[in-house]
């Protein structure tokens, strides 16, 4: 990646905003995408995240022009790419894409793979050769230019796929779960390399993933999808810190949800009871008839102390009994049965060393500012 520093100003592209306006996609009776609008500002990287079947890959394929739209439209700058009546074919969209399977052409060498798009653009052989070695240098693969994909490791194939995607300096770069076939160590390394390259080239990018870590690490903006709809979008910090629903809270990071009986609330905060305890939370206004509401609190936001210790002022406080302690290197996980309604088990993560044994009585304290009211309706079930 050292060679990335050698990038000239000419290698950055004239970026454009990418917009999806109320896009629908159905296959027969099955509605894969049910009306989503997404704004990808120029030069930024937006992640689409959600469980499998949420419509994120379909959305990406519609952006690439590989799937027609049922309704809505997709535009880049002021140019219409797709609507219900038709689409600019993929080859005229000036996009680059990294596929989940890499989709390298097995009958072509690394150089031919990377140079393919340039050839289609009509560049001459010398220019192609120069550009190919430039981008291969960027991804540290310049030594493998004559190899065939089957002779490369997974990580190397991934780098070639990345080089191929950026070689023709596309307006838009698309990533379809590009790291899901790599092992954990490589995945983390590639994550940074991708982000680095995208920022240096300033290419407007859309990144589809089901991994919250990738989304958080890579994106300027995260769009969380579920069942064909956008559930929440925002910066990584917004999504993490102020999830709107239990689904978002659970999908982006670990969380505990508590069902509270409403005592009082206003625009900024709400107070509810959890058994004998009062829990204060921050969040949006709620319907006046709401009897119960959900709050989310991250395991890492909770501090543990001996049940006998005196309460800290201004913090929510629950008590419970340690059931399990799991030590995973950098983190100690406690699973704690709380005194309260139902059988609520809370998860708490602290840095080592472990200070409590299973069976110990502990107090759980957490900041009301970090206790977030969720928009979900309570259906009588809590975690």
């Amino acid at each position: 990646m050292a060679a990335a520093a050698a990038l000239s100003a000419a290698d950055t592209v004239q970026a454009q905003d990418l917009r999806l306006n109320d896009v629908y996609k159905s296959y027969g009776n099955y509605e894969a995408v049910r009306g989503i609008s997404i704004d990808v500002p120029k030069g930024s990287m937006v992640s689409l995240i959600g469980p499998s079947g949420c419509g994120k890959t379909t959305t990406l394929r519609m952006i690439a022009g590989l799937e027609p739209l049922s309704s809505g439209s997709i535009t880049v700058g002021s140019k219409l790419l797709s609507d219900a009546t038709g689409a600019v074919p993929p080859e005229r969209r000036d996009m680059g894409m990294v596929f989940q399977s890499y989709a390298l052409w097995p009958h072509m060498s690394v150089a031919d793979n990377v140079g393919y798009g340039l050839k289609r653009k009509g560049l001459n052989a010398t220019d192609i050769e120069r550009r190919v070695s430039d981008v291969l240098a960027m991804v540290g693969m310049v030594d493998h230019v004559g190899r065939y994909p089957s002779q490369l490791s997974g990580g190397q194939q991934q780098r070639v796929a990345l080089a191929r995607a950026v070689a023709s300096r596309p307006q838009i770069l698309l990533f379809d779960e590009p790291l899901s076939n790599l092992d954990a160590v490589l995945r983390e390394q590639m994550r940074f390399e991708i982000r680095d390259l995208q920022q240096k080239l300033g290419i407007t990018s859309v990144y589809v993933t089901h991994s919250q870590e990738e989304a958080l690490a890579l994106s300027d903006k995260i769009v969380v999808m579920s069942k064909g709809l956008v559930v929440q979008s925002g910066t990584p910090a917004e999504i993490y810190e102020r999830p709107k629903t239990a689904f978002v809270a659970g999908f982006i990071g670990l969380t505990n949800t508590l069902t509270l009986n409403r005592l009082l609330s206003d625009d900024q905060m709400a107070v509810g009871s959890f058994g004998a305890h009062r829990v204060k939370a921050s969040g949006a206004a709620m319907n006046g008839e709401t009897q119960q509401f959900l709050v989310s609190v991250r395991p890492s936001e909770i501090t543990l102390s001996a049940a006998s210790a005196s309460p800290t002022a201004g913090m929510n406080r629950l008590v419970g009994t340690i059931q399990t302690v799991v030590f995973t290197g950098g983190i100690v996980d406690y699973f704690i049965a709380c005194d309260g309604p139902g059988q609520t088990t809370l998860r708490v993560q602290t840095t080592p060393p472990a200070r409590f044994e299973p069976g110990a009585q502990v107090a759980l304290e957490f900041d009301p500012a970090r206790t977030v009211v969720l928009e979900d309706q309570v259906n009588g079930k809590s975690q």
Partner: protein, 343 residues
């Protein structure tokens, strides 16, 4: 997925290119050579073609051989489609007559050489030109049957000891064998109980094998699979040339003579060459080689001929067949035959 090597890609291109060249090949034009449909085998036609080439070195001759019955239907279909694919056809006189009756497909032509031809074999209408007389006789395998045991007449085939040993061409699919049917059921009809349709009813009891072609029967006789058969002279000739362990019997009742003939198509775009072929067929030169060529007896009076076993033509009773009867009564004859054989 396997990576296809460059070699295989080059191979592909070569194969594709070759295929394209081949693809163009079947579209060759149809003009120039004299094209002859023949019911007579290639090996028989060869001597005639060679002799013709000596007299007409500029004419290229192409032969396409099909068994008689199949050739008739091929030509009928081609006539229905618009035009025949050949200039001349070589077939027995009766078949040519029936084709002519149905389609008027042939052009009448009387070569000068016909003057030397025996009148009883001539086609009055001039549609077909007689080439030679092909006789029916009995062929038997000498390994399986001694000369003393061999039958001496057609009636001898009715002997029960020939059960499962006989072969005969199937009248449903052979045109020639209708000459034999005519001979037994019409010509000899008044000669007693051994003849007429009663002959075939009794022959059926010997379960002769009915084959489509006389050539197949010849090989079955030679191999011993069906050691005794009703056969055409031409095939006996082939057996003799090849050294098969077979011998011929000249039945005492006489032999029906089928007239092997040629005729030219009206629509031929090679009329001159076609006429040259017909001229050649009745020329003394062609008639002289006829026994070696079509394997049968010449039709000219002025050509001497001795059968392969030394029998002279004058020693054999040759009965010219009634071509009109055979052409007109074909279906009725097949039906009567089927009845006699219980099919």
């Amino acid at each position: 997925m396997p990576k296809p090597g460059r070699v295989s890609m080059k191979l592909t291109r070569t194969v594709t290119a070759l295929a394209c060249i081949f693809a163009a090949a079947p579209a060759f034009a149809q003009e120039g050579p004299l094209q002859i449909y023949s019911a007579y085998p290639d090996e028989h036609m060869k001597a005639l073609v060679d002799g013709f080439a000596e007299q007409y070195p500029d004419v290229e001759v192409q032969i396409s051989v099909q068994p008689g019955e199949q050739l008739i239907s091929t030509v009928e279909l081609e006539l229905r489609a618009g035009r025949p694919q050949a200039d001349v056809i070589g077939l027995n006189q009766a078949s040519i007559a029936s084709l002519q009756a149905a389609h008027s497909a042939f052009a009448a032509y009387k070569p000068a050489g016909l003057e030397g031809v025996r009148t009883e074999v001539l086609d009055e209408s001039g549609t077909s030109v007689p080439a030679c007389v092909n006789l029916y006789l009995i062929q038997y395998n000498t390994n399986a049957i001694s000369e003393a045991d061999a039958p001496t007449d057609w009636a001898g085939l009715l002997d029960p000891r020939w059960k499962d040993q006989l072969a005969l061409a199937d009248p449903a699919s052979s045109q020639s064998v209708h000459s034999f049917l005519w001979f037994i059921t019409e010509h000899l009809a008044d000669e007693g109980d051994d003849y007429g349709w009663g002959y075939f009813e009794r022959l059926a009891e010997n379960a002769p094998r009915l084959e489509r072609s006389h050539g197949t029967i010849r090989d079955m006789t030679a191999s011993g699979e069906r050691p005794i058969a009703v056969q055409l002279l031409a095939n006996g000739q082939t057996s003799a040339n090849r050294g098969d362990p077979t011998s011929l019997v000249w039945p005492s009742e006489g032999s029906p003579g089928e007239i092997s003939s040629f005729a030219m198509f009206e629509q031929s775009d090679n009329q001159e060459a076609a006429q040259a072929w017909l001229d050649y067929i009745v020329s003394p030169e062609a008639q002289a080689i006829m026994p070696d060529a079509l394997g049968c007896a010449p039709v000219r009076n002025d050509v001497d001929y001795t059968f392969p076993d030394g029998t002279a033509v004058s020693d054999v009773t040759i009965v010219p067949v009634d071509a009109d009867f055979i052409a007109n009564e074909r279906e009725a004859q097949v039906e009567a035959f089927d009845q006699a054989f219980g099919r």
